[in-house]
Symmetry: C2
Amino acid sequence: MVRFFVDPETLASDSLILTGENAQHAKVLRLRQGEEVLVCDGAGQECLCAISESSGTQWALEVLERRTPQSEAAVAVSVYMAFPKADKLEHVIQKATELGAREIIAFPSARCVSRPDDKSLKKKLERWQKIAQSAAEQSGRGIVPKVLTIPSYAEALARAAQADKALLFYENEQALTLKMALAGEYATVSLLTGPEGGLEEGEVAQARQAGLQVCTLGKRILRCETAPLCALSAVMYDAGEF
Amino acid sequence: MVRFFVDPETLASDSLILTGENAQHAKVLRLRQGEEVLVCDGAGQECLCAISESSGTQWALEVLERRTPQSEAAVAVSVYMAFPKADKLEHVIQKATELGAREIIAFPSARCVSRPDDKSLKKKLERWQKIAQSAAEQSGRGIVPKVLTIPSYAEALARAAQADKALLFYENEQALTLKMALAGEYATVSLLTGPEGGLEEGEVAQARQAGLQVCTLGKRILRCETAPLCALSAVMYDAGEF
């Protein structure tokens, strides 16, 4: 079913009108009176709606049923990624959204070759959030993952460490597998991975100090954009999502 | 450690010379006499070598130790993908190689919008194989996955069905999870996914008939290039790789 994201205020009323890009999208899809669509506020509310009026340029909707999103994972996974080159971050935002991440957080680390300056950051965050929204629509999510940046590695570690399972993946770790690290119950997971050049040994030690477990993702070296998606897929599998 | 792939014949002798792109690569890396590198035949043989002579344009190597590759997964996974648009297939070849797939097979299905004609296929296969080789070098694999195409859907199913676990992923399947399908022992796995527009119901029935299990990858709709990599990551996790 087609899925639109709107502001929570728009969804407060039982009748609403599609505007802006949503109206454009409805036009492309040639939606007609009587057809059913889903409208979400992107924060956990999903409404089954019927098109009550369609002029060909304007679409009025009536809410038929309010419900919690049915496509969200029970486990809340936060993907922490050291700033990679721009196209890789966009790739990870799109794919991690499809795979069900709850949030995607970019942070600096010693070997990051790319890091947006403060001036361009606001615009980039808007762009990244839009990529997440678009991927959420396409994959049928009820929540749009938040994309955020954290200004320091230490702060990223402190935030990541709050999850039930806070995991850092490091290519020189061989003993602790992800499977061991995920043993037991968990409702929240942080997955932290390094930039193109990897994390420095000192940074890995710092993460351990902050309370993260340091795990392996297997015997092969994964690219910086592959590692978080591999880990996220495995966590969703472990959590019983598929 | 740096890794070169050479023909099996080159690796038959205990002293060898790097040629072509390998020599180029050695030059870029400024490899010097005494340094150790890995040389693989891409088919299961890996040799630890030392650089015995380096002229700056030519590199002679001595084999120190012959061994089986240490970075290969015990489970042999074949990724069967309905022809997507070209850039997506290349993406999947690169990533599936990193993630440890043993082979990547493209095949036609009813809703494929893109399918190379026979004339261009040979050139494309060369290109795809090169992408796999390059990803194998970077990720430290001992085997270069074979990239092949199969001319019909029925033949793809028949080949896929020979694995211990032959699985097709379908967005309308909800009951059978990948976890259920992987229960028990297995040494070989086939993972089959559809093109951009999905597989047709009749094709899914045909796959069942051919002996494949039809599973879900969760409640979210994955893009055609995301599904095989998500499934492959989960199988590697399930098989105890990380």
